[in-house]
Structures are given as structure tokens and as C-alpha cells.
């Protein structure tokens, strides 16, 4: 059972907590900005109004100004907008401010200052935002706004924002927990699937819900890897079965031969003869193992680095030259078209091995008196296709694809010795080059084409 401390230490919980914290931080920054902007805007609005009032009233004549100020003060029922007119000697001519604060005279813009009101007279100075403007005759008119309003506004906005932050925090935490649970659920599903694969259930796959989500894309990639792995394991399993099956025949023959030699041989010479034939059986089995290993080596593309520009016309002629005496010995005519040099990018040794296998196969299945024909088709010095045709029994249409798989031997080919691996080897080499191949009816006989153009 996983303890709470361990759960809290998991990556999913940590990431979720980090996201929740980020959301909280975002709310706090947002509220701070709203607070700062609102307060700043309120102060600017007060300042603007003070400056406008002050400059407008300062332009009035002395009598009109005093009357206007007294009227304004009388109308200010809440006593939040103090105002007064001061004579050049500093005594009050009109309004409800008792004394002119000297610091006001040093500023042309509104400042925060304590103002003593005339009614009620015993109260301490009120902190106000105020401005003094000179008037005709040398006096000053003063306008103020009680700062209590601004302080209250700040308090109001602050509280409102705090009220917003609390549910935002709660939402962030709930969101974080949901996120964590969801992530943990997905990881749990993946872990179970991986555990199943580890137990040998190679067909198990991870769930994929969408093609855009990165997690689903990762799951798709893992599934593709599992597909490849399953294919490789099945291939390996099939290879093992094939080898066991194919080796059983030579081993049974070998056993029978040794047994017969052991029981029947009456002289060292006879025993030696049995021994020699047994050695041939062993060599046959070993050559099959070598061929299978070679097939694997080519399939794994271990030699892909040796690609060079190869003259395919020359290669086909060289391969035919190797088999010419064998063809003569069997009474088969081996013909090679004398083509001009034609090149393509290939691994010389591997392609030679492929062409040799095709000629070898063609010779094996062509009866005496028949013919095997090797051709290169090229254009302007570029090799297009290699063709090896024979006048043997041919390969049935239904069997042509199967012939490219290892150990498959056509119905017409059973009486001829071989491993059933030659064409599979050619197909593997063709695949490694990115070329393609086709088995056709040569009427009579069979023709195999290797197309030297990358698919």
C-alpha cells in the first residue's frame, strides 16, 4: 500500500501542485494589477477635478469668488470637499478651512496635506488632497477632497479582490487534484499494459484516444514499437520452428545412415563409406544453418554501409562466368547479353550473391538441353533491371509470393536438392537495397526480374 507521503512525492502530484500554485500566483498578480490600476485611476480623477475647480474659480472676481465658495461649502452636506479663499495676509475671506497650509503654496499640483476645518472647530486636521491657486489681488483659493473617500475605496477594492482570490485558490487546488488523479490513472493504465507485455502478452497495447494529445502520441509510438517487437519475436519463433523442422530431415537421415553403418558395415572400407555419406549429411545441415544465418544478417541490414556505384552489366557477366562450367556440365546453354556498362548504387558483393543465387536456381530447375538467359536492361548508362530466365518448369502463379519466403519450395521443385532459401535470400538482398523483384512466366519456364530502382 502506498503511503500518503509517497503519493505526495510522485511526479504527477508534484506537477499538479505546481500547476495549482501557478494558477494561484496568476490570480494574485491579476488582483494586484486591478487594485493598483483602480486606485491610481481614482487618484488621477480626484487630482484632475481639483485642478479644474481651482483654475476655474481663480478666474472669478473677489465678490463672486467668495459667494461661490460659500455656496459650494454650504452645499457640501457630507463635508468631504473643503474649500476656502485666503487674503494675501492669510486670513480667511470665505469657505470652511481655518488656515492655509504653507506647503500648498510650494506646489502647483494637488498634494496630500492636513486641513483644519472651521466646523466643527475642535477636530484634528483632516488628511486631504488639496491645491492652492493664486487669485487676483494676491490671495489664494484652496480646494480639497477628504482622503477618507480614497482610503475607503482602497479598502473596498482590496476586500473585493481578497474575496475573489479565495475561490480562485480553491478552484486551483481542486483543478490540481483532478489533474493529478487523471494523470495517475493514465500512468496506471500504461504501467499495467507494460507489465502485461513483460509477462509475455505481446499483443497488449496502450489505449489511444486522440491523435493530437502528446500522451496519446507517445502511446501510439510505444504501440508501434510493440508491433515491431511482436513481429520480430514471431519471426524469431517461426525461424526457430522452421530450423527445427528443416533440420529434422537431415538429422533423421544421418541417424539412419550411422545406425545402418554401425550394424551392417563388415569392413573398415564399408564403414568409411557410411562415414563419408554421414559427413555429407552433416555438411548439408551446416550449410543450411549458414544460409539461415546469412539471411538473418542480410535482413538486419548489417552491410548497408557498403553501397557504391556498381557496373551491373559487368556484375551479371561475372556471375554468369562463375556458373558457365556448371551449365556446360549439365548440358544447359547459359547466355549473357553483351550489354554496355550500366550503373546503379548497390552493395557489389550482396547483389552478386543475389544474381548468383538466381542463376544457381535457374540451372537447378532447367533440364539438360534447356537454356538460362541473363540480361541487363539499362538506359543511358543507368541500370534498370536484371532478368534471369530459364526454360524449366516455371513457378505457378499462386506460389510466386510464397517462393520468396524461406524454406518454401514449389510443388514442381520438390525432387531437386536444396534448402528452399535461395529466392528468400535474393528477396532479402533486394529489400535491403530498396529495389523490387517479380517472378513471371517466361513461357516456357520462369523469369525473375530485379528492378534496380529504389522503391
Amino acid at each position: 500500500m502506498t503511503s500518503l507521503a509517497e503519493v505526495l512525492r510522485t511526479t504527477t502530484v508534484r506537477w499538479s501542485a505546481a500547476i495549482a500554485l501557478a494558477l494561484l500566483l496568476q490570480s494574485a498578480v491579476l488582483c494586484g494589477l486591478i487594485y493598483w490600476w483602480t486606485v491610481r485611476h481614482a487618484e488621477a480623477s480626484v487630482n484632475h477635478r481639483l485642478v479644474a475647480d481651482c483654475t476655474t474659480f481663480a478666474k472669478l472676481g473677489p465678490r463672486d469668488l467668495d459667494a461661490a465658495i460659500d455656496g459650494m461649502v454650504a452645499a457640501d452636506l457630507h463635508r468631504t470637499h473643503p474649500a476656502a479663499v485666503f487674503a494675501p495676509d492669510g486670513h480667511v475671506l470665505a469657505g470652511n478651512i481655518v488656515a492655509l497650509p504653507p506647503q500648498l503654496l510650494a506646489h502647483t499640483r494637488p498634494i496630500s496635506v492636513g486641513l483644519i476645518r472651521s466646523r466643527p472647530p475642535d477636530l484634528p486636521p483632516d488628511l486631504s488632497r488639496a491645491i492652492a491657486c493664486p487669485i487676483a489681488g494676491g490671495g489664494h483659493v484652496v480646494f480639497g477632497v477628504d482622503m477618507d473617500r480614497l482610503t475607503f475605496l482602497r479598502l473596498l477594492i482590496g476586500r473585493a479582490l481578497l474575496l475573489v482570490t479565495a475561490p480562485a485558490g480553491a478552484i486551483a487546488i481542486v483543478f490540481g487534484i483532478c489533474l493529478s488523479l487523471r494523470a495517475q490513472t493514465r500512468f496506471r493504465v500504461v504501467r499495467r499494459a507494460v507489465e502485461d507485455v513483460m509477462e509475455g502478452k505481446l499483443q497488449r497495447r496502450l489505449p489511444v484516444h486522440s491523435t493530437i494529445d502528446p500522451f496519446d502520441r507517445l502511446s501510439s509510438a510505444v504501440n508501434a514499437m510493440l508491433d515491431r517487437l511482436e513481429e520480430a519475436v514471431n519471426d524469431l519463433r517461426a525461424l526457430g520452428d522452421d530450423i527445427a523442422h528443416e533440420l529434422r530431415t537431415p538429422l533423421t537421415r544421418l541417424r539412419a545412415r550411422l545406425e545402418r553403418g554401425y550394424q551392417d558395415a563388415s569392413s573398415p572400407e564399408e564403414f568409411r563409406a557410411f562415414g563419408e555419406r554421414a559427413l555429407q549429411d552433416v555438411d548439408h545441415a551446416l550449410s543450411m544453418v549458414s544460409a539461415i544465418l546469412r539471411l538473418r544478417e542480410i535482413d538486419e541490414g548489417a552491410r548497408a554501409a557498403n553501397f557504391t556505384r556498381v557496373d551491373i552489366a559487368r556484375l551479371v557477366q561475372d556471375a554468369a562466368e562463375l556458373y558457365l562450367p556448371s551449365a556446360e556440365m549439365r548440358g544447359i546453354s547459359l547466355q549473357v547479353d553483351d550489354s554496355p556498362a550500366a550503373y546503379c548504387l548497390a552493395d557489389h558483393d550482396l547483389l552478386m550473391e543475389a544474381v548468383c543465387n538466381l542463376i544457381d536456381n535457374a540451372l537447378k530447375f532447367t533440364p539438360p538441353g534447356g537454356a538460362v538467359c541473363c540480361q541487363l536492361r539499362g538506359e543511358n548508362g543507368v541500370a534498370r533491371a536484371i532478368r534471369v530466365a530459364d526454360t524449366g518448369p516455371g513457378i505457378r502463379h499462386s506460389e510466386r509470393e510464397a517462393m520468396l519466403r524461406r524454406f518454401h519450395r514449389g510443388a514442381q521443385h520438390k525432387p531437386v536438392a536444396g534448402h528452399g532459401i535461395g529466392l528468400a535470400l535474393v528477396a532479402a538482398i533486394v529489400r535491403l537495397h530498396g529495389f523490387s523483384m517479380r517472378i513471371e512466366d517466361a513461357a516456357p519456364g520462369c523469369e525473375v526480374m530485379i528492378f534496380c530502382t529504389a522503391v
Binding site: 544478417e297 552491410r303 562463375l322 552478386m352 548468383c356 537447378k364
Partner: protein, 240 residues
């Protein structure tokens, strides 16, 4: 099987004995290899671990046969160590690891040849003789062995004055044998060195070429110069 003794196949005076150090931990394989090499006149000392092999390899041997997977110290490490110490004794690596990458790795570690298991014992003998002879490769253009001779400049061959009608490939084959008188030459050596191919054909193409060459060199009434060696290779002998 203690007490088994090699039947000597090699005729006396054909070749000097080679001192062979065999480093192989599988006792039965080691015994078979040693018996086969002794049959061909070589003296074999066998050790069964990498560490003992390294110690022994520092002594005076003509050739080393080293298995790759050994207890104590890996075969390739043995070769790398002696090469670092400046010991140039030719070494043949034998191993069950037979992929191309493994072979390249073995040769890069300082091996002179690489023979994947399973192999025919005669193949090992042939490779060993080839490795031993390697530094003495002659650059002569007129090669002779008993009644046989080849003029490599005029590309002509003759036996006891009888002109041999050989095609270019047969001439190359004969030259290969004349440069290795008395040595066993296997099919894979011919395919690799004369044709330059590194794959095993699925049929007996090399044998067919050899049989044509032999028919031209050894007429029915002449002493055969070519010999088949246990179905795996050939040897060109000087007639006694």
C-alpha cells in the same frame, strides 16, 4: 579420449613443423583440432583459459589459434594485449560469433584470420598454412612446380612442355595453387581470393571449375598433380 594419437598424413620433407598455440576452453574441440593439426605435421600446445593463453602466447610460437569466448580473459583481449606488447605472432580467431560485425571486430583486434564455428577441420588447417606462408608471398612472374610452369607475363601455362589451353580464370586458379605448393586450398579460399567473392554459393560451382582445370592439367595417363582433400579442398603436390 585420452591416448588418441594422430595419424600423420603429411609426407616427410614437405613442410617444416609449425609450433601452434591453441587457446580453447572446450576440451573436446581442442582435442579434435590438435589431432587434426598433428596429422598435418604441426606441434600443438593447448591451454584452456584466456589468462593462461596470454602467458603462453608471450613464448615463441609460429601461430596462435584463439577462441573468442574464454574463461578469465576474452580471446580478443589476449590478441590485443600481445599486439600492444609488440608480439606479431600470426593469430587465427575461431568463434561461434560469425556475423560480419564479429569478423570485422576480430580482425581489427589484431587477428590475421577469422573462422566462424562450425568449420571443417581441414578449413582450419588450410587457413593456418595460408597465415604461416603469408609473409613469403613471391612476386616472381615465372612459377614452376615439377613439370608445371606458368609464365604470368605471356599468360601461358604448360605441363612437361605440353601447352595447357586454359581460360583466364583457370590460369588464375593454377597460379593460386602454384604459389602454394603442397598447401591445402579450400573452396572458400578460392572463391574469396581468386574470384573476390565473400559469400558461399549454394552449389558446387568451385568444384566444377576445379574439375575442368584438373582435366586439363592431369591427363588420364599422367601422374595426378592435383589431389582432393577430404571433400573440402584441393592440394597441388610436386610429384616425387
Amino acid at each position: 579420449m585420452p591416448g588418441r594419437r594422430a595419424v600423420i598424413y603429411r609426407s616427410a620433407g614437405q613442410k617444416d613443423l609449425a609450433n601452434v598455440l591453441l587457446i580453447e576452453d572446450d576440451v573436446e574441440i581442442a582435442e579434435e583440432i590438435a589431432l587434426e593439426l598433428e596429422r598435418f605435421g604441426h606441434a600443438v600446445i593447448t591451454v584452456d583459459s584466456g589468462t593462461n593463453g596470454l602467458e603462453a602466447a608471450r613464448r615463441d610460437f609460429d601461430v596462435l589459434i584463439v577462441d573468442r569466448l574464454l574463461p578469465g580473459l576474452e580471446g580478443l583481449d589476449v590478441i590485443k594485449t600481445i599486439r600492444r606488447e609488440g608480439i606479431r605472432t600470426p593469430a587465427i580467431v575461431i568463434s561461434a560469433l560469425g556475423r560480419l560485425d564479429d569478423r570485422v571486430h576480430g580482425l581489427r583486434a589484431g587477428g590475421d584470420d577469422y573462422l566462424p564455428k562450425p568449420f571443417a577441420l581441414i578449413e582450419l588447417v588450410a587457413r593456418l598454412e595460408a597465415v604461416l606462408r603469408r609473409p613469403a608471398e613471391t612476386r616472381e612472374t615465372l612459377l614452376r612446380l615439377g613439370p608445371l610452369e606458368i609464365d604470368l607475363l605471356s599468360r601461358r601455362a604448360a605441363r612437361s612442355g605440353r601447352r595447357l589451353d586454359l581460360n583466364p580464370r583457370e590460369l588464375d586458379l593454377l597460379e593460386y595453387f602454384l604459389r602454394r605448393p603442397g598447401d591445402i586450398v579450400t573452396r572458400s579460399m578460392l572463391l574469396q581470393d581468386v574470384w573476390g567473392y565473400r559469400f558461399e554459393p549454394r552449389s558446387n560451382v568451385v568444384d566444377v571449375h576445379m574439375s575442368k582445370l584438373r582435366r586439363k592439367v592431369d591427363l588420364p595417363d599422367e601422374t595426378p598433380l592435383f589431389r582432393s582433400v577430404r571433400g573440402q579442398g584441393y592440394r597441388l603436390d610436386q610429384p616425387r
